[in-house]
């Protein structure tokens, strides 16, 4: 198991990330200082910068963790499972908990991250990380050669599809569960994949 030192570091990192997100949602992005985040997480301001190099990075730490978990989720699927089934399951696993009503604090977090221009860079980094994590897991699963683009292309398409699903979910009125949108977008993706690239549909 991981030593105490490592677990404490993870806990601090998580506390900082959660505090950053919560404060930013509550007060608005520009009304949160690094010092506030550090205080809320119970560490010194200087320590904040040992973990994150900006408050934007801290706010998006949750998205980064989610990206990595999604890669792991794909790896955890049975190796014999067809790729598409495994991808589908891995991408939906993240939202498995919220049965019907979406958690409003989560909703607001997503709205913040996707809506604030100052966060776009960090958000895109997290998205790219998810794509790469998925691609690596796909490559392992398929045993493709390192220079085969297939894993990255598929992972990219899947990531884009969940991005679209998120947009639609945020825009949905009345609000519905996000799984529904992700599921739907992935189905559309499967259909799109069968469309040829050459011609108009």
């Amino acid at each position: 198991m991981a030593g105490l030192r490592e677990r404490k570091k993870q806990a601090t990192r998580q506390a900082l990330g959660i505090a950053a997100m919560r404060l930013a949602v509550e007060r608005g992005l520009e009304n949160v200082l690094v010092d506030d985040i550090a205080e809320a997480a119970g560490v010194s301001p200087r320590t904040f910068n040992n973990y994150f190099s900006s408050k934007y990075e801290a706010i998006c730490a949750l998205a980064v963790d989610r990206a990595l978990r999604t890669g792991d989720a794909l790896r955890a699927r049975p190796p014999a499972e067809p790729l598409w089934t495994a991808l589908h399951a891995a991408l939906l696993a993240e939202y498995r908990d919220d049965g019907g009503a979406p958690d409003p604090s989560w909703t607001n977090g997503v709205r913040l991250v996707t809506g604030q221009p100052a966060l776009e860079g960090e958000y895109r980094k997290a998205q790219a990380l998810m794509r790469d994590a998925l691609a690596e897991a796909i490559a392992e699963r398929l045993g493709t050669r390192p220079d085969d683009m297939y894993p990255l292309i598929v992972a990219g398409a899947a990531t884009t599809a969940t991005e679209i699903a998120t947009d639609r979910w945020l825009a949905a009125d009345p609000p519905t569960s996000i799984q529904e949108h992700v599921d739907r977008a992935l189905l559309e993706l499967a259909l799109i994949w069968t469309r040829p690239l050459q011609e108009t549909p």
Copy 2:
């Protein structure tokens, strides 16, 4: 035609972007101050921030312009042309000039942007912009409905392919022309598109 005011603004923006890139390549990213960039472009430091909100954004301004040009290049292709042909041409158009030997200053610029962690956020933003610009042009060309994911998915795949091509080009030893890599990656993409998603290859 555009008024003098507008043209001056474009010129200043470009001068700042070019100066930022050149200085960063010459001295290293962290040895360039905003003041240096402003001075090299012949404007006051305060004016710098009227155009860009960080030096990283200024450095990536060239990539942003390139992304927009690529979208325009696709729009400029004959409407009757098959999508794939038009995409191929639009993506290669950007590099049409450097015939054989890659311009070392451009190479170093790309190496900087893709290699420096501090620039990743801005770089990803530029990539996303290219994807979206391409997607919009594709949607216009095909006349798809606004909620059809097809344009975004295809644009994303094409963008990822050029990203891979760039990586390979930077790694290529001995150096070769980048068109070759882009061309090759796009061909691979066309092949990949015909692979089913369900099974191992």
